[in-house]
Symmetry: C2
Subunit: 334 residues, 2 copies
DNA sequence: CTGTTAGCGCCTTCAG
DNA sequence: CTGAAGGCGCTAACAG
């Protein structure tokens, strides 16, 4: 593998000049540049990034920490991140934690080892304190998840408002008794969605029956189980709002299993708009998070953090969209 | 950020000794080791990987090149890769090409820039010649995809046999007129699956009507369109075998749309066993590739390639599984 | 516009 | 068992 000095010798210049050509510096005469370029081509020269990185004390790499790459929700976020990363010459290291807290922290610490220049957290099971402390020292951005009141860059949607919009939709359709399958309540976005749900209920003067609120774990089976619970109530709901699409899919299965129809007997709404939402029948009405945009924005902010030590970013909330498909039907009869 | 010399000074030893402790060398007395360890802890010392990598001329990073991270098929392969990578202290760089050939090549070339020690190709749109040439020079493994007759490590299933097994299954169920939706025929695994299909037909003495073979592009809409074509034939098939699950899902939609039932009127089989296959109704009978295992195996082989220059690996074929769900029903009536 | 030179932080002989 | 010293290949002052 040819190195810089080989190019320099072949072109009859110094390594500094070669380096300048590589950097696209303007302070090189056209003919010298061409000589160098030719020598590089002749030798099939590729700069050694290991050396460059050490010299510049940067890795041109960022880590994106996600709980589980198999979860389709994250792939669009990652695509957004990679899109911006690529434009700026950054590589994206995959930090799939498989829901392991230690793994999460290991990935974050890669920055201190200079194996990465920054980190985007799309999951945060580590304690908020540790994360906030780390964010003081290294470029760190949170996406999708966030920490309440934290002074660090976070890119999410407004989960409260989004959930409330679903209730608006359901109320407009005539539903007055709505069941809610919450996500695990120890994560903040689950609590936000619940809060938005309750807010909507109140605003539309709908029943607030605590037996209509159940808690799942974001999985299809838990959506199924909790939907069964709701449907077995003495006075079952006419609509079920699940806090993510997986649980909504489970709920649809439960409704069908009990011999009822979606949306005629029970309307179902999801959250996130994953690809599966269009495959299930009926296609799911759901909230679409701008996943790609969230990834892009998170990466853009991270870049700013890396370039200057500008720690002045706060919580950015991107607009979500309500996608109306078939799982809620038209207006309720009666 | 403390560096090695700081630790050395605090512990009253030389940098060489600190380096030895870091490497876990046995040639350090217990008390010296403890002194050093304490100094490292006191200073919160983290080795600078940039420097280490340059010195050892390695990046402890591998690139996994995939066509599209949003395609759920690949996430399990990546998980397998990451699982092994992690065990061996390697990082995984994401090479999502978005189906762009140039991007593919750029990721492969990262090895020459020493930004990665090896590459796993889960897609290969670059010319076989270029890839084979590159494989001579750098550690490279192919997974899922392969190049016919190439002398490089490849980990896949046997697509011919797998497809034949599907025909076996359908034939056993009594189907004699089977439609086949091929993948894009310029990719080899599509041709393999077609070949297996024809082989099965022949073996079971079934009709070989060329109008029963159509070509899609692995997408849901193409599966839908091609299924419609098959069903509109004067003598439509009683079963449709799609070359991947997405097309099978499209086919199921087409069947239903035409007022027919799966599996009663038309059986449908897919290929790959993606998560969606269990969500669609009826749940898809399909071929399950050992994706996680393929990823693991590919990474293990890559590691061997990196460690020794052992280029003696060939084409490894892992066993697939036929997953029987509901989309084929029981035996055909009559 | 071009060349010389001093490191970046670490690992690894080679001595002792 | 421990220390001294020479680079890995590149970039960025500093000179000229």
């Amino acid at each position: 593998m040819a190195k810089m000095i080989d190019v320099a010798r072949l072109a009859g210049v110094s390594v500094a000049t070669v380096s300048r050509v590589l950097a696209g510096s303007a302070h090189v005469s056209r003919e010298t540049r061409e000589k160098v370029l030719r020598a590089m081509a002749d030798l099939d020269y590729k700069p050694n990034l290991l050396a460059r990185n050490l010299r510049k004390m940067e890795s041109k790499t960022i880590v994106v920490v996600i709980p589980d790459i198999s979860n389709p929700f994250f792939s669009d976020v990652i695509r957004g991140i990679q899109h911006v990363a690529k434009e700026h010459g950054y590589h994206v290291l995959l930090g799939d934690t498989q829901n392991d807290v230690d793994a999460e922290w290991d990935f974050i610490e890669m920055i201190k080892e200079r194996a990465a220049d920054g980190v985007i957290l799309v999951t945060a099971r580590t304690s908020p304190e540790k994360i906030m402390e780390m964010a003081q020292e290294v470029p760190l951005v949170m996406a999708c998840e966030y920490i309440q009141g934290a002074e660090l860059p976070m890119v999410t949607i407004d989960n409260v408002i989004s959930a409330k919009r679903v209730v608006d939709h359901l109320a407009a359709l005539g539903h007055r008794r709505i069941g809610f399958i919450a996500g695990p309540l120890h994560v903040i976005i689950s609590r936000d969605r619940l809060q938005g749900f309750v807010l909507g209920l109140r605003e539309h003067g709908l029943e607030q029956d605590s037996s209509l609120i159940v808690e799942g774990d974001f999985s299809i089976p838990s959506g199924y189980d909790q939907a069964v619970r709701l449907l077995q109530l003495p006075e079952p709901p006419t609509a079920i709002f699940a806090s993510n699409d997986e649980m909504a899919i489970g709920a649809v299965k439960a409704v069908k299993q009990m011999g009822l129809k979606v949306p005629q007997d029970v309307a179902v709404v999801g959250f996130d708009d994953i690809p599966m939402a269009t495959v299930i029948e009926p296609a799911l009405t759901t909230i679409c998070q701008p996943k790609f945009e969230i990834g892009k924005k998170a990466m853009e902010i991270l870049l700013q953090l890396i370039q200057q030590s500008n720690r002045s970013h706060g919580h950015l909330k991107l607009p979500e969209k309500l996608i109306v498909r078939d799982s809620c039907g038209g207006r309720l009869k009666g």
